[in-house]
Amino acid sequence: MAEVDETRRRMIFRTLQGVTLTAVGGAFWAGFVHENAQAELVLRPPGALPEDEFLATCIRCGLCVNDCPYDTLKLGAYGDNVPVGTPFFEPRKVPCYLCEDIPCAAACPTGALDLLSLTDEEGELDVSKSRMGVAVVDYNNCIASRGLRCDACVRACPYIGDAIFVDTRRNPRTGKHAMLVPVVDADYCTGCGLCEHACVTEEPTIIVLPREVALGKAGEHYDLPSPDFTPEVPENEI
């Protein structure tokens, strides 16, 4: 009888050992994966699904990276602070040049880059529908906002006049000069980063951030007119 109890006690103990090890191992594993998936400042290629869906869809094959003709895209490696193996780009290094045939999204075998979201009503590809991020200006350091003549970012934008435009303001310091301040309209900005790439300051003073990071939300209960930033500047002031 005592024999049997001893075997049983042993078995229960072994089982508990196994379960504990599995649980502890699983917790560390889950912790690492969770942490690695949280990298917030990652810019995805055109047509990428929302980040949580993207991470559950992208198989990390790099076919998008292979087919990008400008070497814009990279696959995250350990140490890149990007969910490991997923495609991303850093516009200050190489921006997205918004290829009309969108080869990156066309190459994706999983649908993590959703070509349909980049197709207009006529069924034509329309890369201007990509929303990789949104450009944000650091007005404290942007030299145009400090009164110098610069419109590098505005001129670099393929959607000049829609996604970014120059807001002409009176320079209060001199009282007689104009300031040509770049303003971004998030409704049109694709997040390609051509502006960030072109910015002349030492560190870019216009940078692309993921839309979830940079944009807020007013809430459903506001009944707002559609945003219209385009300043109405009298002709003679330009």
């Binding site: 196994g18 599995t22 191992g25 699983g26 594993w29 889950a30 690492f32 994966v33 969770h34 690695n36 998936a37 949580d52 869906e53 991470l55 559950a56 869809t57 198989i59 990390r60 094959c61 790099g62 076919l63 990276v65 292979n66 990279k74 696959l75 995250g76 490696a77 350990y78 140490g79 890149d80 969910p83 490991v84 193996g85 994706c108 075998p109 999983t110 649908g111 993590a112």
Partner: protein, 272 residues
């Protein structure tokens, strides 16, 4: 010279082919990214042959599906093709394709070179890999993320060669050292969930190692060469095929056997 060639052929023909295939695949992945080659582009998670035929890692696809990913048909077809292939040829991925096998075999080779016979630093059960596989599936479902893809040394190696290694080398070095000093055949023989997955689907494989008992001299060379020696339990006992699923079909046992007791058998099935 002739006899030397014959010796190499007799003892290393499969090993040479395996290394050529393993390295060739990595070279094609690298060339696809660096020079725009088209023969095989992508990495071991998913790839395309000649820009047309899709291939995909079925375990990666399974994780994504459990994570709730709505996958496009192409990658599902790719996973199915690979699944069918390995169902027919067994766990050959491990011996013929996987880049980690290069590392763990190097650790084993180093062990033999240095004459390590020390007992393992810790005890691991060879069934542990099935627990790890179960954890992969459960955690992928729970976290809505493909959890093995975040830590897989297999992806890290193949992706690293093609797209840049980053700190991934540390993971690979850790596996080398683990296999060298901690547990013999540690990673591939005890832990890897992908090896476990391919073992599970290899039950009805058509390619097996066949043993002829009467030729066997019980020299033990096959046991020494095999990364999963428990699958050779029939050797010296009875005729038949190696049916235990963890066999990687590397055919090292066949080429090291000097007594015509082990063969590659294409008929498969549960022959006597």
């Amino acid at each position: 010279m002739r006899s030397k060639l014959r010796f190499v052929y007799a003892h290393y023909r499969f090993l040479i082919l395996r290394r050529a295939l393993q390295l060739g695949i990595l070279l094609l992945f690298f060339g696809a990214n660096a020079w725009g080659w088209n023969l095989l582009a992508g990495d071991l998670s998913s790839s395309r042959i000649l820009g047309k035929v899709p291939l995909a890692d079925p375990l990666a696809v399974l994780q994504l599906l459990l994570a709730g990913g709505v996958l496009a048909g192409e990658v599902l077809v790719g996973a199915l093709l690979v699944l069918i292939a390995y169902a027919l040829i067994g766990r050959a991925f491990c011996a013929w394709v996987c880049p980690v096998n290069l590392i763990t075999d190097l650790a084993e080779w180093t062990r033999k070179l240095l004459g390590f016979r020390e007992p393992p630093l810790m005890y691991l059960n060879r069934k542990l890999r099935y627990v790890v596989l179960a954890m992969v599936l459960v955690l992928s479902l729970a976290l809505s993320l493909p959890v093995f893809e975040f830590v897989s040394p297999i992806s890290a190696a193949a992706r690293g060669v093609a797209f840049g290694m980053g700190m991934g080398w540390a993971l690979l070095l850790a596996i080398f050292l683990f296999d060298l000093f901690v547990v013999r055949h540690g990673y591939c023989g005890h832990i890897c969930p992908l090896g476990a997955f391919y073992s599970l689907i290899s039950r009805f494989r058509r390619v097996r190692v066949r043993h002829v008992k009467d030729n066997c001299t019980l020299c033990g060379l096959c046991f020494n060469a095999c990364p999963e020696p428990h699958v050779l339990s029939l050797v010296g006992k009875h005729d038949g095929t190696v049916n235990i699923p963890e066999c990687t079909n590397c055919f090292r046992c066949v080429e090291v056997c000097d007594d015509d007791a082990l063969f590659v058998s294409l008929s498969g099935g549960w022959s006597k």
